[in-house]
């Protein structure tokens, strides 16, 4: 049962990572990266790493996403590929 949960979370994480790399709008890419961070935080908690999951949720999904959005606002929002 827990194997099914871990496999499902890995599939979601893979899809989120691919979406973050493929979309042309950089703001959407940074939101997809935050989603990827959050799903991976869930994966850490399911595997018993509760401290690491807490850290990843706060830093990855929160702070890194905010820093990306600020940098994209100061540079360019679209990308060529």
């Amino acid at each position: 049962m827990i194997d099914l949960l871990i496999a499902g979370l890995f599939v979601f994480a893979g899809v989120a990572a691919v979406v973050a790399l493929v979309v042309r709008d950089l703001l959407a890419a940074s939101v997809a990266l935050s989603t990827f961070s959050f799903i991976v935080a869930l994966l850490y908690v399911v595997m018993g790493a509760v401290d690491v999951g807490f850290n990843e949720a706060v830093l990855g999904a929160g702070v890194t996403g905010t820093l990306f959005v600020v940098a994209i606002f100061r540079t360019r929002r679209g990308s060529m590929d």
Partner: protein, 239 residues
């Protein structure tokens, strides 16, 4: 995808899958990584430091020197951001998305949420001995609350709550608190960062408990100050 990229990816895949059978199976309790020192930490952490959270004891007591180095890395990253984005000429102009009139709904919700996030952050720092948490998580939560204030509440109120000039000194003070607690044990005759030689009248495991709490506070201050200073440099610096 160009051919060299595809070749590198395929080569990496083949090498990693060929090396995978050398690892222990998933979930194996007799894996070599889980013996020796890990068993010692799990069996002796509560007895040595009177702290249930073994990961906190490990990073703040048994391996506190690594944590000191990590705090130094975070502070150095904040300095690197500042050096690359020094304001030129007059003090940097604030970008428009931090200035514009904010949405009333977002402002009301954030004004209710911010104190709750900060109280939760302090809870996470102090309760890191007994539940998942500790200095890094609590410091990052405090920084996230300040960043939320900067984005939604506008420049004047957010700067009144936490001025930009306070960020980096707070990071340096956090690092100094960490190193200072280490030096207290050093001055009293033990090793650097040895908490049970601190000159207070408590049993050794309670001294280690309080030493862990002290350095977690230092780490929280360092992480909070540095993350807020990185955000301020990225949003304002270099104009």
């Amino acid at each position: 995808m160009r051919v060299p990229t595809l070749a590198v990816l395929l080569a990496t895949l083949v090498v990693m899958l060929a090396a995978a059978p050398g690892l222990a199976p998933f979930g194996d309790p007799t894996a070599p990584a889980s013996g020796h020192v890990a068993g010692h930490y799990l069996e002796h952490a509560y007895h040595d430091a009177h702290t249930p959270n073994v990961v906190t004891v490990m990073i703040a007591d048994y391996r506190s020197f690594d944590t000191l180095g990590e705090t130094m890395v975070v502070f150095a990253a904040g300095l690197a951001c500042a050096l690359m984005l020094l304001p030129r000429g007059r003090r940097g102009r604030v970008p428009r998305f931090l200035h514009r009139k904010v949405n009333l709904i977002a402002e009301v919700i954030v004004r209710i949420m911010l104190p709750a996030v900060q109280i939760f952050a302090f809870y996470v720092i102090f309760h890191g001995h007994y539940s998942p948490g500790g200095g890094f998580q609590g410091g990052a939560l405090l920084a996230a609350s300040i960043l939320l204030g900067r984005i939604v509440l506008g420049r004047s109120r957010s700067q009144a709550a936490f001025p930009t000039a306070l960020g980096r000194p707070l990071g340096a003070i956090g690092f100094a608190v960490f190193a200072g607690i280490g030096l207290v044990g050093f001055a009293a005759g033990g090793a650097f960062l040895q908490y049970d030689r601190m000159p207070f009248a408590l049993p050794p495991d309670m001294l280690r408990n309080w030493g862990i709490l002290g350095i977690e506070l230092g780490v929280a201050m360092a992480v909070m100050g540095t993350l807020v200073s990185i955000f301020d440099d990225l949003s304002v610096g270099g104009r």
